[in-house]
């Protein structure tokens, strides 16, 4: 139980996926213009990621590892995640139109989102079992949501600020990110981790 909590906190704060590991910067910058789209994107990430991590964990441990096909890992994961995203897209469109309306535009972006694939690789690198990998995924995706909400709240104010023209847009967002990441460095001493 304690180790599960540590895995969660580590993925959520100490090794925050965006601010400490630099994964998923494209959607982080691209969809953080408003709080609404930030939340929509992060909910979609949580949803897709929980599914994709379980599927890739099962495929890796029950298919690739026993058959000695570890070298097909990258290819299989990319294909599986692509197919899964396509499937979720179709499923929501048909059966849950209300949910599709709010999340629909973010789902196709998941296929090239490096958080999803990155987490799948990290789970293998850490040798997590199924429960641990689910907890890890939850930590990672909630960490993404935290970073997303933080940036979008700051950005709504930055838009009205007086910034040198060369630094408008992405550069100022990165400077903001740098300061946030500096604050997150402080978490590395948390619980003596």
């Amino acid at each position: 139980m304690q180790s599960l909590f540590l895995i969660f906190i580590s993925a959520f704060l100490v090794n925050n996926i965006v601010l400490m590991r630099f994964l998923g910067l494209c959607p982080w910058l691209g969809t953080s213009n408003s709080l609404g789209s930030a939340i929509g994107m992060s909910v979609a990430v949580i949803f897709v990621m929980l599914l994709s991590s379980s599927v890739t964990w099962i495929i890796y441990n029950f298919l690739l590892l026993p058959m000695g096909l570890v070298y097909l890992r990258t290819m299989v994961f990319v294909l599986v995640i692509g197919a899964l995203v396509q499937f979720i897209d179709l499923f929501l469109k048909k059966n849950r139109p209300a949910l599709y309306k709010s999340l629909g535009i973010y789902i196709p972006l998941m296929a090239t989102n490096c958080i999803i694939l990155g987490a799948a690789f990290l789970i293998i690198d850490y040798n997590y079992n199924f429960i641990q990998s689910i907890v890890f995924t939850l930590g990672v995706s909630l960490g993404f949501m935290l970073a997303m909400i933080m940036l979008s709240s700051v950005r709504e104010r930055i838009d009205t600020a007086d910034i040198p023209p060369s630094l408008r847009g992405a550069p100022i967002a990165f400077i903001t990110a740098s300061l946030m990441s500096l604050a997150f460095l402080g978490f590395s001493g948390l619980f003596g981790l």
């Binding site: 180790s3 540590l6 580590s10 090794n15 400490m20 070298y71 097909l72 981790l193």
Partner: protein, 210 residues
């Protein structure tokens, strides 16, 4: 049309799978060999800081070390706990000490620290792989303060010990120090209670650090 689709997809899959299998066959033996060699070198470097190179001898499991000072030794390594603790033995099967590994994951890379203890539970040597995030230059001078310390000294200065805080490391120094101290205490306990001998495997909980 459909047939052509299936056919071309199958061909692409097969070609790539076979080429990957080929590449894997070619590189895998070298990768495994390198990995084993690197681990042995790290362990021996922790125990014998001046080690320059090592070669396997005729006796299985034994290596001839040559140090930069020109001295050569014959030693062997045995894992006591897989992937965590190794015992180092001299030529006459007498244990010289143990080496344990501490891994820390920081900023996208794993930092591995190998600590060597003599039978008197004093630190004989310490080496890190990947660097402490400060680059390799300043590492050696910072690490050298650990040598010849007992477990009671392995505390940060502000906690009442003798270890200086690293000026600018990317890793949590306190975590590292705590793991080292706990490992030494466990080893000491096992020596005192005679649970550890030349051949016996010691049972300790693995130090999990994040």
């Amino acid at each position: 049309m459909k047939l052509k689709m299936i056919l071309s997809l199958t061909i692409v899959c097969l070609v790539s799978a076979f080429s990957l299998a080929g590449i894997y066959q070619i590189t895998n033996t070298k990768i495994e060999k390198d990995k084993a060699g690197r681990l042995e070198f790290n362990l021996l470097e922790a125990m014998f800081p001046g080690v320059k190179s090592f070669l396997p001898t005729n006796k299985p499991g034994f290596y001839t070390l040559s140090e930069t000072s020109g001295i050569t030794k014959t030693v062997s390594l045995k894992p006591l706990i897989p992937d965590t603790v190794w015992g180092i033995y001299a030529n006459d099967n007498q244990m010289t000490g143990i080496v344990f590994k501490i891994s820390q994951y920081k900023f996208g890379k794993t930092v591995e620290t190998y600590v060597a203890l003599g039978n008197d539970t004093v630190i004989k040597g310490i080496t890190t792989v990947e660097g402490l995030g400060t680059g390799t230059k300043s590492n050696d001078s910072w690490l050298s303060q650990f040598i010849n310390k007992k477990e009671t000294d392995i505390l940060l200065k502000k906690d009442g010990g003798t270890i200086e805080v690293a000026p600018s490391t990317a890793m949590s120094v306190r975590v590292m120090i705590n793991s080292i101290r706990e490992n030494i205490n466990t080893y000491k306990y096992l020596l005192e209670t005679k649970q550890i001998t030349e051949t016996k495997v010691i049972e300790t909980s693995r130090q999990d650090s994040l």
